[in-house]
Amino acid sequence: MSASPEAPVIALEGLTVGFGGAPVLDGIDLELRPREIFGVVGETGAGKSVLARAILGQLPPGGRIEAGRILLEGRPIDALDAPQAARYRGGRVALIGTNAKALLDPVARVGDQIGRVLRAHGKPDGRTDRRSVRDRAVALMREVGINDPERRARAYPHELSGGMAQRIVIAMALAGEPEVLLADDATLGLDATVQAQVLERLVERSRERGLSVLLITHDLGIVRHYCDRLAVMRGGRLVEVSEVSRFMAHPADGYSRDLLAAARARPALQPPRKSDDRPPIVDVRDLTMHFQVPGSPQPIRAVDGISFSVAPGETLALVGESGSGKTTAGQCLLRLLDNTDGRIVFDGRDITDMKEAAFRPLRRHMQMVFQEPYVALNPRRRVRDLLAEPLALVEPMTGAERGRRVAELLAAVNLDAAVADIRPGELTAGEQKRVGIARALATKPRFVVFDEPTTALDIRVRAQIIDLIRGLQSSMNLAALFITHDLNSVRSLAHRVAVMHLGKILEQGETRAIFESPREDYTRKLLAAELPIDAETSEPASAGSAA
């Protein structure tokens, strides 16, 4: 897909946007050509979202264009006359945002929401009677891959899954028949298999209609698979603009190279541990956790009879998509939830029915690193207090001893000692993650549950956290349950893998065996949904067209 010499649909000339302080976008020059899919990659805070908002002429409060201009087919967008300006948003350029559920009106039926956009732009053919608008909305829903659109059109957003809501948002974007789509991290937070389906459908429709797409993402895998050209963004500037294939082979800029290297990191698989005859440190039999839902006779079977064990020093990865019950299983292990059925044996003792007071002394041996880096730390307490709290489980300590331990812990997770005196809100996501890890390790536990330790982190930070855990694992001889959906981190950390789906473990085995010769269809689908950036598996997953 070489660059065509056609005039660009959208062109940015030295676009600079600021919020009073330093510019958030700093002299951006960019051309979006007809029918091209253009990726914009960058880490959190690079200014990617502001870029999309600026093109749409909808900057967040306080933001304004300080220099440069935005051209639509060669004409500055602030020179559009009134009717043209009214058509611009949604009719020429449409936005597909992140977290689709928040983008839909919670008290209106989704079909009507698509209808509002159709009416606003006089589609279809300027007819705005109920009937033709509804028919058109249903047709759009079918087009973006929604089954049974007539019925779904009458649903409210809260009745839809995340992937379904995202499709509705795409339908709303297509409703005004625009020439340009801005997809701002449109599949963030969706499960890998769903993400693949939604992206596939989005790209397919755009190619069919001949749209230009600006695909904003932090995932180089997505760019590699769907885009023709890309720009790497950092600190409000474009550090590199290039053809995707050329970029993958020879990134020109130093930062781009780092980014690519971190995304590519495929450390050698953990070698299988030598089996010894020591008894497992954690042994779980038929663990079951059902939740009663008010108003529904059927309980939710979050965890439905799973069995596994972890040997001392071993890491078992529990892999699955959201809703598979993997986090619930981890919380049952630490007695944060009272499991409905099954036994949990820790170090030879059955802890299933232990009272909290009896179990508390055991907590020093089993700890957890919580999923969301920020919400798992009490915002009102200093890092020092957060790290000192679990130390009370070990033995009485003097203030000085405690201070020394806190300093040691911070050093162990590569944090500066000054961090002790600040509150979690002032830390970056990666630092918060490290504090969470330090807190779990404070009592020198023998078994740790890592709940999604790498989600919501930028590529480079993710690589650093994986390195950190890997180092701690070998230096402390930890046994760990590693809960994740990030297959890349599984490869580098886990000795064995258990694949979980809808509350059950479908298969488990050595990491290499699972990755190289999965037995179950679901495992294969999960592995296929990963969008690797290496060239040998360049064909994207074709799961999308099946749904």
Partner: protein, 280 residues
């Protein structure tokens, strides 16, 4: 950061603090500020318009309105502070417990609160004061019956959402017991809306006290109390004698306004803090 320092200079806060300072001066120095006794009737000076001797005029009984307004600050603010302090002391722990242990007991307590709150505020107050007698403490108890459920409800709502937050589970993993979780981890995070409400409640207390006294179900004559003073001028107002009711009413407005301004400022600070916490 730059915004926080400028927020200290906001005009709303300055006015609020200034009004509050005036009230505290009135409370402490009332006997030295007031030129006349607040409770001595002087029929010869009845219903004098504002003049150089009686700055704000006199009422039907010839009592000096300015002196009464100054002394009434003690009564009105005492009732407000006492009611809110007592309600905090009861309502906050109840809210924490009811929110943390969601059992039958908690449900019953909340039903009971629903119940009290579903009575018309004023009628409940009148009936209770009629039962308990027209004393300052009766008014305080009436106000507590309104505020305890309010504070408990606010705290409970916060606790209900906080207890599901992962940092609570993390604290439990770190060995915190129920008591530590409730009062060290949850309560400090639940206090922001309570603090905002405290100031509003003092204002509400002043308004309700005045209202109760106005219809004769609160503090009794000759005690100086703003609502009672407005009430004693109500009949004359229609005849064009405006000063008896006007000035004590203004005192109520300024007093309630000062607390409202403070609470607004507290809310603003809480919002910025929350935005900062949520920004990550």
């Amino acid at each position: 950061m730059a915004r926080r320092s400028s927020s200290l200079l906001r005009p709303g806060l300055l006015i609020g603090l200034a009004l509050l300072a005036v009230q505290f001066v009135a409370i402490v120095f009332a006997p030295w500020i007031a030129p006349f006794s607040p409770i001595e009737a002087n029929p010869l000076d009845s219903l004098q318009p504002p003049n150089l001797v009686h700055w704000l005029g006199t009422d039907e009984l010839g009592m000096d309105i300015f002196s009464r307004i100054v002394f009434a600050t003690r009564v009105n603010l005492l009732i407000g502070f006492a009611a809110v302090a007592l309600s905090l002391a009861i309502g906050v722990p109840v809210g924490v417990l009811v929110g943390y242990y969601r059992g039958l007991g908690g449900a019953l307590v909340m039903r009971f609160f629903d119940f009290i709150q579903s009575f018309p505020v004023f009628v409940l107050g009148m009936a209770l004061v009629a039962v308990l007698g027209q004393e300052i403490w009766s008014v305080v108890i009436v106000l507590c019956m309104l505020f305890v459920p309010m504070f408990a409800r606010i705290v409970r709502a916060e606790v209900l959402s906080l207890r599901e937050r992962p940092f609570i589970a993390a604290a439990r993993c770190s060995g915190a017991n129920d008591f530590a979780i409730m009062f060290r981890h949850i309560l400090p995070n639940a206090m922001t809306p309570v603090i905002v409400q405290v100031s509003v409640s003092i204002g509400m207390a002043i308004l309700l006290t005045a209202g109760l006294s106005f219809i004769g179900a609160g503090v009794r004559l000759p005690s100086p109390e703003w609502g009672l003073m407005v009430s004693s001028g109500a009949q004359q107002m229609i005849l064009g004698i405006w000063w008896v009711a006007l000035f004590p009413g203004l005192a109520i407005v300024f007093s309630v306004l000062s607390f409202a301004l403070l609470s607004d400022e507290a809310q603003r600070l809480a919002d910025t803090a929350r935005r900062k916490e949520g920004a990550r």
